[in-house]
Point group: C2
Chain length 321, copies 2
Amino acid sequence: MKALRYEDGRLELAETDAPRAGATGEAVVRVTLAGICNTDVEIARGYAGFEGTLGHEFVGVVESAPDGSLVGRRVVGEINAGCGRCELCAAGDARHCPRRTVLGIVGRDGAFAQYLSLPVVNLLVVPDEVEDARAVFAEPLAAACGIMERVEIRRDTRVAVVGDGKLGLLSAQAVRAQTGAAVTLVGKHENKLSIARARGVETVLVEDLPQGRAGAFDVVVEASGAAAGFALAVGLTRPRGVLVLKSTFHGATEIDAARIVVDEISVVGSRCGRFAPALELLARDAVDVASLVTEEFPLTDGLRAMQRATESGVLKVLLKP
Amino acid sequence: MKALRYEDGRLELAETDAPRAGATGEAVVRVTLAGICNTDVEIARGYAGFEGTLGHEFVGVVESAPDGSLVGRRVVGEINAGCGRCELCAAGDARHCPRRTVLGIVGRDGAFAQYLSLPVVNLLVVPDEVEDARAVFAEPLAAACGIMERVEIRRDTRVAVVGDGKLGLLSAQAVRAQTGAAVTLVGKHENKLSIARARGVETVLVEDLPQGRAGAFDVVVEASGAAAGFALAVGLTRPRGVLVLKSTFHGATEIDAARIVVDEISVVGSRCGRFAPALELLARDAVDVASLVTEEFPLTDGLRAMQRATESGVLKVLLKP
């Protein structure tokens, strides 16, 4: 099968063996649509130490499974596959299993291919009303919903999101839709901000941000991935407020530790979220993901698609195997 | 009266007017003993932007008060004095009032003097069984108890404290005494570690720390104030664990943001704590503070005392007006 792989320091469209269903609880999924994430771009730049087939955002159809039950069903899949034996896996959460593999990120070939394999327990059936072009957002939207796993947000919580890229747009909408809280999205691009504004999010260009908003938010989500965005996020957080760190940065980031201690701020890391809440939001059309799609490429044009994903102003680029 | 003041870029023993009881709810306290904190050393180095009389750790006797009720009583005092009108002050917590003054730190003369003034509401009567030499630790011990205000620690929580200075020794003992949790103190000085060990804290020299302890703690308290200590603290924290940032660092500190996001760690700032739990620990002799005293100087030797406080191996230096 065809697969977009990063190996020996280069990205290429390769011909590889398709995965086969084994006896270890793994299903084989025929990928019908996949999405390019910034993490894929990082991997292709050699920043992440992964070699193999890229991609962890997908929707597909189950080709084969050990118990046969999901065959033919349209699915998305949680990307962390645990060892199944440790304390964390036993508690039903493989996301922090120390021996986990992660689809297209750690020790497991990913979704930019005609087929992938994942444990059956990772798969969730997609509701009929959620077409592929929206279902493919289940993974990043689950990550956005993961914010609510890490911090309590109530209807009267004042929330800001910094960054109007994919992560920021999904985070702002997910917080708004799940909690009913007032959410302010701070970004640099009017055309991107407008996507969230149409779904009830207050938006403001960073250059128009009034001084008076400093320290005005109970919860601030940093989704810009930039040092300046992090500093802005700290500045927006009230004393004893919570700053959710949603973006990974390259290597070390400078933080104003004195500010965090003196104002007793909590900086809370957030990575993957559970898929069920994301599918629920998609099923009731509570978030706009369709407007985030900039372009779709065939998998055979994967190299061009990856290039496109790095260009300024681009949001989601999709790959069709 | 005599006062140890930092002004115009220099520290000096000055002759100033004693505070007088006003009509604004302030009491005048005759200081009987004061303690030098690292923050005082920082201020004297010009790092903190404060000018005036130093000192925020004290015990003393009330000389005068608007309602007369505490006159003659031995007291310690919470160091944050709020505006009394804002939302935070109304909720009974002046520690984050944006217009607060802080004894010897922000806009209010401190305790390295014969007399100081503080709002009556800030004062707590010291139990008779707690002599001055232990009562003077109420403020830093309250800061240590503040950890429990910021993070839930139960009997089965695995806690590590990094740093065997004053803050680390008090934090390790306070967590142990208040919660019954197993506490491991990591430090560089066997003689300092032994103080906490005698009170039921497991201690380990940083060079003897086994690899296997990486990621082994639910809660890690960073009390070293050093970048290497912070990095060690991150390394000891389990996925989804809590790192309590107790030390202020100078300016910016580098953090491994990717680790915090991927392992979903919470970095929680902690500054001042409430005094009542600290007095309770002192009253039942649940923590050893006496062993932390390295030397006592008369206030008139304040400059020499401040110098002594910066020397290697020194823990608490006291000043007697």
